[in-house]
Symmetry: C2
Subunit: 159 residues, 2 copies
DNA sequence: CCGCATTAGTTGCATTTGCAACTATAATCC
DNA sequence: GGATTATAGTTGCAAATGCAACTAATGCGG
């Protein structure tokens, strides 16, 4: 028998990384439009607000960690938010490199107005599913997320 | 009873759009690294190749439709691929606006070499799941994808 | 303590992306 | 069949992103 190269085929429409990318992009674009048009916020800025609303006083590095953004993106988002008076930036007394970030009253107000929008969109999206399917999907998504972190770049690790 | 504003809370870590974005980004970055370092391909270029491998002769607009990219991104990807001799760009005789895109032998060779890498990565990712969970996840993902298309921008439509 | 390596955060630069204007061809409608 | 409108694709410009170099402050080894 001839050595079977047996060219495997790949259909983009069925490729999971592709579908994840399209879905995430569609959803993010839909949300970003709302943040931008109503509040003049970018997605990175919204993420910073969302984290600080629940954990005031974090440093920029801690925000970066919790938002999966890099420190440059956080720095720029915070600069914009400070300029528009939504975030207050102070220095830690014990370590003057570290910043201490908190929402101002205006920042908290924006948060309170966005949350219902964001949750409503999420609800409309998940309305596709029954309650059982929703928790299934969330569980699977979470596992995949963790695995994607463990996995290195494509093509160099074995499982 | 006082009108209950009852400020709802939102935790970024549990917000589905956020998790989708992080997952898609992690996965895409891992793959993009492989395409770039081994073949000098960007993700848009890889998508164009993947589509043309299975459907030669498409126009740029048709490629855009199948890859969920906009026509500008397709145009630039094709320009790059044409320059590196991986795609041939001709004009339709019946309609001289329309392009007819096909992979060259070199383009097909790149496709044949990437497909195993891409599928291996997908397999490693999905190895998180049992076979039953895999098909569940795919089915749920597909439904969510379709719903996200039906849904407009956040905050303006009702279900 | 005093240099040396580390860490937090910012800035500059090069690349990517997205949108709008533009060119060329084709279809439509009196 | 000639003006008008629509479509395919490209180009240019402005904003977003990512990476590396930089500044400032701290920790640490001897």
């Amino acid at each position: 028998m001839p050595a079977p190269a047996n060219a495997p085929a790949l259909s983009l429409e069925r490729f999971i990384p592709y579908r994840l990318s399209v879905l995430a992009n569609t959803v993010s674009t839909a949300l970003a439009g709302a943040y931008a048009s109503r509040f003049g916020l970018t997605i990175p800025q919204w993420r910073v607000i969302a984290v600080l609303a629940r954990a005031p006083g974090l440093s920029a590095a801690e925000v970066a960690e919790r938002t999966a953004m890099d420190k440059v993106a956080v720095s720029r988002a915070v600069t914009g938010l400070a300029r528009s008076g939504r975030v207050r930036r102070a220095l830690a007394t014990s370590d003057k490199r570290r910043s201490v970030l908190t929402l101002t009253a205006r920042g908290r107000a924006v948060y309170r107005r966005i949350v219902p929008l964001a949750l409503a969109y999420e609800r409309r999206l998940l309305a596709e599913f029954s309650p059982a399917e929703q928790s299934q999907f969330e569980a699977l998504l979470q596992r995949l997320l963790k695995r994607s972190w463990r996995l290195g770049p494509a093509g160099d690790a074995r499982v």
